[in-house]
Amino acid sequence: MSALNLLMIFIATLLTSNIALSYLLGMCPFIALSKRLSTATGMGYAVIFVVTLTAAINWPIYHLVLVPLKAELVYYVVFIITIAAVVQLLEMLMEKFFPALQSSFGIFLPLITVNCIVLAVSLFMILRDYNFITSVVYAFGSAAGWTLAIAIMAAINEKLALVGDVPRGMKGPGIVMVSAGIIALAFMGFSGMVVVQ
């Protein structure tokens, strides 16, 4: 896998096959946490960190432990335990060594365990047979793409709150989905730029 290929994968995950806007993953926090830009980016950084780290841990676990043991069947269970353990460990380490970091994005950490993109990235990297380096780049790019999407969404929501002329039943999740649909349309303009999967 050459450096150019890695760059292509990175751009693809960021723009053309954005995990939030074209694979429709990580939608629950996308809707619940996109009211303010600062919250959205805080969650985004925490997601980038955790997704990249869990992909880097899950890859060797799958290829060096589960495959030789012929136990690929249980990889869902193993991955979900890894993710929960990594999040728990990070929380404890941050509390002890980086209290400043803890106060800035520590509150988002417990929520990440149930963010489906963490598991999705690990599953996709196995499904597509990526090697280790590619997996890490793919994980980082996907999480960065998700962060980009939720940041755009939150910025739109902040402006929308100022205008505030949304029909009653449409307020909250409804209008977020319509805006997300329009952003997804805009992102389709990138398609054809790079082709990966």
Partner: protein
């Protein structure tokens, strides 16, 4: 009118706390697999099965699972049933499995399962939990099917693969893709929330 607990559970699952439109839970999968009716039915059945299995097991073990590790215990129970769903789909319906494959694994992080486990199954008996699981599963499935009927009809001109629209019908390609999912689900949320006169600030509690 006084409702019996079981009737209340049924009504909550199907309408009042209906997972997708009113609680905005489990949105990922409902958006991603609702491009065709057959995928939606398979996904709905898978979630319902996993929900029933989880409900029975958690309700039966609720006194034995220590509070501190309950989250990870739920995760393992849910993941076990999802593996079963995945294997059954692979063996019996290989085409559907190829289409929605990775999303089946993501049932594990579908907040409906975790949400119901934390909100209901820990504090209720096996019977009531089973009922809750069945009707939450049905509530999830019928919304998924509704969304997918619209998307398949407009995006492919078919329902369950059968040609419904005249052949000259101009397919709305966008409906089969991501933006279409957002627009249709948003419309459904708008309609149900207006009908139910729901508090506009109420949002999905979980992730």
């Amino acid at each position: 009118m006084k409702q019996s607990p079981s009737l209340k559970v049924i009504l909550n699952g199907l309408w009042k706390d209906q997972p997708i439109f009113s609680m905005v839970l489990g949105i990922c999968s409902s958006l991603a697999v609702s491009n065709k009716v057959e995928n939606a039915i398979a996904m709905g059945a898978g979630v319902t099965f996993a929900l029933i299995g989880t409900a029975v097991l958690i309700a039966a073990l609720r006194k034995l699972i220590p509070g501190r590790v309950r989250m990870i215990a739920y995760m393992i129970i849910i993941a076990t049933f999802v593996i079963v769903v995945d294997r059954v789909l692979k063996a019996m319906f290989p085409d559907i499995s190829r289409a929605i494959g990775p999303y089946v694994g993501l049932i594990i992080t579908n907040c409906i399962l975790m949400g119901r486990a934390e909100a209901f199954y820990v504090s209720n008996g096996v019977g009531l939990s089973l009922l809750d699981a069945i009707f939450n599963g049905l509530g999830y499935t019928y919304t998924l099917v509704l969304v997918s009927v619209i998307r398949e009809l407009l995006g492919f001109g078919t329902i369950l693969g059968l040609q419904v629209m005249p052949l000259s019908f101009n397919k709305w390609v966008i409906m089969a893709m991501a933006p279409g999912a957002f627009f249709v689900v948003a419309l459904f949320i708008w309609v149900t929330r207006t009908l139910a006169k729901m508090d506009p600030d109420k949002q999905g509690g979980g992730m």
